[in-house]
């Protein structure tokens, strides 16, 4: 129960991150910046909340993970810094002609690399090669520099791009822009579909315990069915230009990937030895953490709602009013 709630908060963070993190800005930068501008900072902070939950609730797991995955985590950080700063500066310059381009390139580059690294870390947590005691770490890179984590990285990247493309369709009412993002969404959907078959296959050798937990579970078939339905629904509604339904289907698809990963990974935080319960803090800390999270949610959700209502109204209703 405790872990489900904590996991839920983490999970919500993931979804929110997805909203902001995906865009590959190879064109339509204005649209992307306009869509992300007011909500970017807010989305970014979910990441901080997630890391704080990890080090407060599960400090020994945090120590072990940040030791074993030192290199990808450092690179991930660099990506986040570049992305965040480049985006802020880039958006700041949008009303001008010069200066925006360099930031935009940096933003796009960092946006490409960061989700891959995030996926690599997620893959590494499942690979079964994270030593439980940071003291025994010897500089081994096999936990993350292997086909399985790398394929998870690619899956993460394509899933983020897919979501972003589907979401961006409804941020504009220009038919050309819409069809641009529609074709991108379809390409990304194909990549996601391909990789979501490929990744479990590699897992058989790259993450055997995880693979076993995934494929031998009694929920595996039903999750896969739902997943296939959502994927199919997204493609069909994209083809039929039913963008609101496409949005829901695409989000469901990504939620199901995360759900499948989470269920197969549970009760482990980092395979093979670190579980939620083995790394959890004292009960007094966990109780307070939950209390604070709940109180924070009660205080912050109305504020987020207000923010969304003010700035995302046009997009949600499918209309977009051109700003003067």
């Amino acid at each position: 129960m405790l872990y489900a709630l904590l996991g839920g908060a983490d999970f919500g963070g993931g979804i929110w991150d997805l909203l902001a993190r995906g865009p590959r800005a190879d064109a339509q930068r204005q649209l992307i910046a306009r869509a992300i501008g007011p909500v970017w900072e807010t989305n970014h902070i979910w990441l901080i909340v997630a890391i704080v939950i990890l080090f407060t609730g599960f400090p020994s797991a945090f120590a072990a993970i940040s030791t074993a995955l030192f290199v990808p985590m450092t690179l991930l950080l660099a990506g986040i810094v570049l992305r965040g700063a480049a985006f802020a500066f880039h958006a700041y310059h949008l009303h001008e002609d010069h200066g925006a381009g360099r930031w935009g390139t940096l933003f796009a580059g960092a946006s490409l690399v960061t989700p891959v690294l995030l996926g690599v870390m997620i893959g590494a947590l499942s690979s079964g090669r994270i030593p439980a005691d940071p003291l025994t770490f010897t500089g081994d890179t096999a936990s993350w520099l292997a086909p399985f984590p790398l394929s998870v990285g690619l899956l993460t990247l394509s899933a983020f791009s897919y979501l972003a493309a589907v979401y961006l369709i409804m941020e504009t009412d220009d038919p050309d822009l819409r069809s641009d993002f529609r074709s991108r969404a379809l390409w990304a959907a194909a990549a996601v579909a391909l990789l979501s078959v490929f990744v479990p296959v590699i897992a058989a050798s790259g993450a055997p315990d995880f693979h076993k937990a995934l494929t031998e579970s009694d929920w595996f078939v039903s999750v896969m069915m739902f997943y296939a339905t959502a994927a199919l629904g997204a493609c069909v509604s994209l083809a039929l230009c039913a963008y609101r339904i496409a949005r829901i289907c695409a989000a469901a698809q990504v939620v199901l990937i995360l759900l499948g990963w989470g269920l197969a990974q549970f009760p482990f935080l980092a395979r093979p030895a670190i579980t939620f319960s083995s790394s959890a803090s004292a009960p007094s800390t966990l109780r307070l953490l939950l209390l604070f999270l709940a109180a924070g949610a009660v205080l912050l959700f109305p504020a987020i709602f207000l923010l969304m209502r003010i700035f995302k109204r046009e997009a949600l209703s499918g209309r977009y009013r051109e700003t003067p």
Binding site: F55, L77, A85
Partner: protein, 443 residues
Amino acid sequence: MTELLLARAQMAMLFAFHILFAVAGMGMPVLMVVAEAAYRKTGKPVYQELAKRWARGTGVLFAVGAVSGTVLSFELGLLWPRFMEFSGGIIGLPFALEGFAFFAEAIFLGIYLYGWDKVSPLLHLLSGVAVAIGGILSGIFVVTANAWMNSPTGFSLVDGKPVDISPLAAMLNPAWKTETAHMTLAAFAASGFAVAGIHAFMLLRDRENLFHRRALAIALGVGGVAAILLPVSGDFNARFIARHQPAKLAAMEGQFRTERAAPLRIGGIPDVDSQTTRWAIEIPRALSLLAFHDPDAEVKGLSAFPRDEWPNPVPVHLAFQLMVASGATMSVLALLSALFAWRRREWLYRRRFLIAVAACGPLGILSVEAGWVVTELGRQPWVIHGVMRTADAVTTVGGLAIPFAFFSLLYLALGVSAAWLLKREVSASPAFPLDGGGGSEPG
């Protein structure tokens, strides 16, 4: 350099950078809200323009603070995994609270920046207030965690592991009140004086511009009040340190021998080999008086502690002198401007005074950096005072020179870019002619 030194150097660099933006995130929203309140009350567009400009500056600084803060929360684990393993469950909660406060700050800053014509005036002003409160609270929570490192409570040690953990008792550690009050005031003083310095500099070129005059008045007001209160909170801090971290006090004051009626040393350089502080101006009994409010009290010197528990007195003493000197100068300037504002308002805009304000602009930031050096280096060799040594907290991962070099370059680029953006923002200042009383449109 050893891996430990590299880890410390990287952490120091990351903090030194982040603290600049953290301080701005606490102080700038207050300036912005005061300007908007003045606009809502008087209806003069000059105040609205000011609030908008300061909000844009806050936006840039906040964005850099957000990313550099994220880096720190990861680097705590990357560089100091054993520290986090030990203390995450005890003192992680203020970070969670900080996350929420920071979150609120971000949400309302979004509304504030982009919502000038989308929300009602009252909601807009209240969003600004929420930004300011969020900024101040996030500073307080983070400094609370640092205060715990100075005065760890809320657990007992059994076989080197923490048991009987009470996170609330850890948060309400003895140092939290004095340390957070001092840091918050310092953040206001640093932001206020830096902003006042910039506008004073602009006024030197464009004396009649009402925009900069009003900006100077607000920034000096906020920074000045904080600067006058800082010595008071500093006194509370020093007396706390005298009781709880005597080795740190000894390093700060360059006090090697334990003595009664100890003198206060102004300036001077501690010499560890001969265990004396040379070339200092000594004021008899003043240290005992200040630290214990008793001119004959005994002050412990460094020699009272085992040699391997000494902080390095040279940087600690020098940084402490720098902090006090900057703080004192700011207090004097604050009192002077209060006097002018009360008796001869025009003197605030005289050339000589403007030069003084412009010159004192960096002092607040300087004293924040110096004060942070005092509290961090003064706590060494401990990462958790009396409980865990810094050397025992560091990661086993080698090759730390690479991330250190990498993040240094990255932050250098980031700092230069942010400075360049702010400079453009400042130099494109709007003109509000003096005789229009601020009622005219920007030209």
